[in-house]
């Protein structure tokens, strides 16, 4: 016997969730999640990402709109009836049951007989590397182990969709990388549909097939990690996924898909992304600023901070204050010095003004 996947797509159609009378948690969103993909809901706290996740689970009911899992309309189904399982932020392991009982709990309601339940539960524990821990109480496990029990408990039900609600937030920094890789590996090996909520952009970039950035109860942008990082749709996304310097600029001419911009007299050419001639903004990652370039903007070094693996600089000029990172830690720039700041060939993107 092997744990299989019954991965199904999830679809949100004009879904709105209102708490009480007028607190809009999710505002008219449309979302298609492909089967077998790991999709992350990312956003600052209060953006509606957890509410969205809980609506997939059936722990919150949509106020308007329809939710589909596979071909079935589950909008009105309670959590019990949905073929979805969830790994909670607090793990929510039942403290009065052993690890084995915890993992078997859901199987008991799914119509498996005793021996099959036991086999599947054992299989699940083996999959997360906790073979032989079945007899312990959750309180006798470390945080990372508890986490894995929670994953096993959800996995053994072979759900159509597996949900993770900030699963790493209770782990220390070193374990996080490990667990995140484990989750991704299991997801890919079994081909599960996973919806994953986090507010940590690095975590999202690392595990996702696709990231849904949410803001103020709506969706700001959907895309692959590279899309979001290299081509953010707006200033919010640019700033939320990794840091970005936003520099006001002027598009002087557009030629096909190439635009030429002017920043305080410095000219640069890059993809136009459909923007017309006129005021615009340029988003540049700190690593994509070239310090000491032959061509660029003269700026003054305001602060220089040594953080071990690199140097961090704050640069000022009348038109902007920029944050830049340099790999060169051996010959740092002096505070007060003037440096020519150039733009890397790829990386900087144009955004609409405002």
């Amino acid at each position: 016997m092997k744990i299989n996947s019954k991965a199904a797509p999830v679809s949100f159609r004009n879904v709105t969730k209102v708490y009480g009378k007028d607190v809009v948690a999710v505002d008219d969103i449309n979302l298609e999640i492909e089967a077998g993909k790991l999709v992350t809901l990312l956003g600052p706290s209060g953006c509606g990402k957890t509410t969205t996740l809980r609506m997939i689970a059936g722990l919150e009911m949509a106020t308007k709109g329809a939710i589909f899992i596979g071909d079935r309309d589950v909008t009105l189904l309670p959590a019990t009836d949905r073929d979805v399982s969830m790994v909670f932020q607090s793990y929510a392991l039942f403290p009065h049951m052993s690890v084995m009982e915890n993992v078997s709990y859901g199987l008991g309601f799914s119509g498996f007989d005793k021996s099959e339940t036991r086999d599947r539960a054992r299989q699940g524990l083996e999959l997360v590397g906790l073979k032989g821990y079945g007899g312990r109480l959750p309180s006798e496990l470390s945080g990372g182990q508890q986490q894995r029990v929670a994953v096993a408990r959800a996995l053994v039900l072979e759900p159509q969709v597996l949900l993770f609600d900030e699963p790493l937030s209770n782990l220390d920094a070193k374990l996080r990388r490990q667990v995140r890789e484990d989750i991704r590996e299991i997801q890919q090996n079994l081909g599960l549909t996973v919806v994953y909520v986090t507010h940590d952009q690095e975590e999202a970039l690392a595990v996702s097939d696709e990231i849904v950035v949410m803001r103020n109860a709506g969706i700001a942008q959907i895309g692959s990690p590279r899309d979001l990082y290299d081509a953010p749709a707006d200033r919010f996304v640019a700033d939320f996924i990794g840091e970005a310097n936003i520099i006001p600029c002027e598009i002087t001419s557009v030629d096909g898909d190439k635009a030429t911009i002017d920043i305080a007299g410095f000219h640069h050419s890059l993809p136009a992304r459909g923007l017309p001639v006129g005021a615009a903004q340029l988003a540049v990652r700190p690593t994509r600023l070239v310090l000491g370039a032959t061509e660029g903007l003269p700026m003054e070094v305001k602060k220089a901070t040594y953080v071990g693996s690199r140097m961090e600089y704050t640069l000022t000029a009348p038109f902007a204050t920029l944050f830049a990172v340099s790999e060169d830690v051996d010959t740092p720039l002096d505070v007060g010095a003037t440096v020519t700041v150039g733009l890397a060939r790829i990386g900087p993107v144009l955004l609409a003004a405002g």
């Binding site: 722990l59 189904l77 019990t80 009836d81 909670f88 607090s90 039942f94 403290p95 949900l163």
Partner: protein, 737 residues
């Protein structure tokens, strides 16, 4: 793939309730029989005898034809079978069946009583009915339950609360029983205040009773006697103030002083739970009564003439203060501990002296708690019946006045009802103030984050008087309790002080005969009854309380605030009011249970339910909500979640609720005294009877025995609860009794 409950066409729960409904209608005796728990009826003419026949047989024999319409909803419910829940007809048939059945049961129950039609206009409309009916029995009750739960399943199928049958049914069940046993009797009592001697209704009667001088007279300002309402109010305010101050003193000693025997002080909080309320009064008589030891001592040594000063306001005040200070202590210790130490430490680092910290930070933060303790003391004093009865003398208060209006020679239901209304207004006012004025103002700062500070000690100028007062009071309490024990082993208090076990023998002697043990002592009857009733009421109280707590903490539904208010309301209804309203409401059909053990059990359930609810809420809010949610996402329904996750984790709270309601049922007197009958006499009312006959020895011996029995119960519980700790999480969720 999970099976969908919404697409199934067989519903075991539905089938169960339909069968139950038919069984109640066709198999079980419809009307109440003399003793609810005997099964004599099975061999005594069942199923054709009119008294024992099920409704189906009655109708078939051409009797009680007004029960015939009930067949319609019973048949209607069958149409829902074999349909999926999402089918519109499913919910329509169930709602219709439930509403029709339940509604008709109520209508016919109130319309037709032991003298035929209950109302004149019915008689005018249909002519005299030559038939009559008694209170509901097994059959009627079970049918009613069946209709109710068919109705709730119908509502659930329409999508209420996500279609959750367990939750909807629980809400329905609790609303119905609270309505039947809290609101209905109170409403009945209120109407009784308007009934004239010849059975009509008149506001004049009410007014004359309400504005009676005995109730509101202000004679005491000019040397005469005041009205009972003023007496009660004055006493309650005094008791509230004094118990709050004393409670605060104890709380400060325990949390903010170097005092070493803190555990002993904490043990004080158990006392009011295990002490029957009037016992303190008895002990005071032994100390300060006409032939009390202190009185006699002063008379002998200094030559002060013994007086009856104790009987009246002073005696009742002392007794109630002794009895209720531990309650204030229990409230305030939580409040005083709840003030975050880091706030006090912050104030200290901002250069406030200890005294300034106490005055500007600690005390203001405790203010809502102080008001809370005051209101509790106020309510308890208002509701107290035992102490004023024993010590009141000429100082009449509302609760005793109600009793004498019903039991005395005057037998005036209307007057009792008016008095009860006044009492109810006072306690409800205090309850309302507590909930809506204080409820939002809790400053206690228990956040999930660790607060590792230490409470600073009291300033010295405060700690010395506080410690002195606390010690004085503790010693006084100990003397009082020692007196109780000592009083039970002397021949005749104040007259013949030789030691004897005579009273225990009279009360609890038994002989071992061939036929077994013969319980020949005078107290055994009431003792066994008390144990039986208390043991029956305790689990029911715990169940109702915990389900209510579950609904309040874990579910959201329309009208939840009203639901919560209704369930907590009976906390504010004094026992005497419950007693009066129960005999007014339940000595006639449709619910006819006066004089049975059931009425005692029911009164205990609804008197003690708020305690179960509070205990349940307190420990459920410690359980992370994601535990329930994860159980739900793993495919369990809400009933399975309740049973397999919540109940096991709440075991300590369940035990606490069980023992607490058991013990409270044993010590209760105020409601009980109206509801006991010759057959079902309770320990407390038996003891009060002894006191009224001046048989103090037996009364005190019996009380002492009760205290020890309950001490054993509480002790056993503490032992068991101490052991049922599961993992780390549970160690924090232990409930104090």
């Amino acid at each position: 793939m999970r099976q969908l409950t919404s697409e199934r066409t067989t519903h075991p729960v539905l089938i169960f309730w339909i069968i139950v409904g038919w069984a109640g209608f066709l198999l079980l005796p419809w009307y109440g029989i003399e003793d609810f728990f005997t099964f004599e009826w099975l061999i005594d003419g069942y199923p054709f005898d009119e008294d024992y026949a099920p409704a189906g047989f009655l109708i078939a024999q051409g009797e009680k034809l007004w029960l015939a319409p009930l067949i319609i909803p019973l048949v209607l419910s069958l149409f829902a079978l074999g349909k999926p829940k999402t089918h519109p007809a499913f919910s329509r048939f169930l709602i219709l069946a439930g509403a029709l059945g339940f509604g008709w049961l109520i209508i016919q129950g109130f319309a037709i009583g032991i003298r035929g039609f209950n109302a004149d206009w019915l008689r005018a409309l249909f002519g005299d009915l030559d038939d009559r009916q008694f209170g509901m029995g097994y059959g009627a009750l079970i049918c009613a339950a069946s209709f109710l739960f068919l109705f709730t399943q119908g509502i659930a199928a329409r999508g209420a609360i996500n279609g959750d049958v367990f939750v909807v049914s629980s809400i329905g069940g609790i609303v119905v029983i609270v309505t039947a046993f809290v609101f209905f009797p109170i409403a009945k009592m209120l109407t009784a205040a308007f009934i004239t001697e010849d059975g009509g209704y008149s506001a004049e009667v009410f007014a004359s009773k309400f504005f009676d001088d005995r109730l509101w007279g202000l004679g005491c300002l000019s040397g005469a006697r005041c009205g009972v309402a003023w007496n009660s109010l004055f006493l309650a305010v005094l008791v509230g103030l004094i118990t709050t101050v004393l409670g605060l003193i104890f709380a400060l000693v325990v949390t903010r002083s170097g005092f070493r025997h803190k555990r002993a002080l904490r043990a004080l909080t158990v006392l009011p739970i295990i002490t029957p309320p009037f016992v303190i009064g008895l002990a005071l008589i032994l100390l300060f009564g006409l032939s009390g030891s202190v009185t006699v001592f002063f008379a002998d040594v200094i030559g002060i003439q013994p007086t009856r000063w104790l009987y009246g306001l002073p005696g009742v005040l002392i007794a109630q203060t002794l009895a209720f200070t531990p309650i204030a202590f229990l409230v305030l210790i939580g409040v005083v501990e709840g003030v975050s130490p880091s706030m006090e430490e912050a104030a200290q680092t901002l250069r406030a002296s200890k005294w300034q910290v106490f005055k500007t930070i600690s005390l203001p933060l405790m203010r809502p708690g102080l008001a809370n303790a005051f209101l509790l003391g106020f309510i308890e004093s208002m509701a107290d019946f035992g102490n004023p009865l024993v010590l009141g003398g000429n100082f009449d208060v509302l609760s005793t006045e109600i009793f004498f209006a019903i039991v005395g020679a005057q037998y005036d239901q209307g007057k009792a009802a008016v008095l009860a209304m006044v009492l109810l207004c006072f306690t409800l006012g205090a309850f309302y103030a507590q909930r809506f004025w204080l409820g939002k103002k809790s400053y206690t700062t228990v956040s999930g984050k660790g607060d590792s500070g230490v409470h600073p000690q009291m300033p010295r100028a405060l700690s010395i008087p506080v410690l002195a007062l606390a010690m004085l009071w503790a010693v006084f309490t100990m003397v009082v309790y020692a007196m109780i024990f000592y009083g039970s082993v002397v021949e005749l208090w104040g007259v013949n002080n030789t030691l004897t076990f005579k009273h225990y023998v009279t009360a609890f002697s038994f002989r071992i005969e061939e036929a077994g043990i013969r319980w020949s002592g005078a107290a055994w009857d009431s003792f066994w009854t008390t144990l039986k009733i208390a043991a029956t009421a305790a689990p029911l109280t715990a169940i109702v309380g915990l389900i209510t707590a579950y609904l309040l903490t874990r579910q959201t539904f329309a009208g939840k605030n009203a639901f919560e208010f209704g369930t907590m309301l009976s906390f504010a209804i004094p026992g005497t009011v419950i007693g009066v309203s129960y005999i007014l409401a339940f000595n006639v059909p449709p619910i006819e249970i006066t004089g049975t053990g059931i009425i005692l059990v029911v009164s205990f359930i609804f008197r003690n339910m708020p305690v179960g609810v509070r205990a349940g809420i307190a420990s459920m809010s410690q359980l992370d909500k994601s535990l329930d949610e994860s159980s739900l996402t793993l495919g369990a329904n809400s009933w399975q979640t309740f049973r397999r996750i919540i109940l096991p984790l709440l075991r300590p709270a369940i035990l606490a609720a069980l023992v607490y309601s058991f013990v409270r049922a044993m010590t209760a007197i105020s409601a009980v005294i109206f509801l006991v009958s010759a057959e079902y006499d309770m320990a407390t009312s038996y003891i009060i009877g002894r006191v009224e006959n001046n048989d103090y020895g037996l009364a005190i011996a019996y009380s002492t025995t009760l205290i020890f029995v309950m001490l054993a119960a509480v002790g056993a519980m503490q032992l068991i609860v101490g052991r049922t700790e599961i993992g780390r999480r549970m160690s924090q969720s232990r409930t104090n009794v």
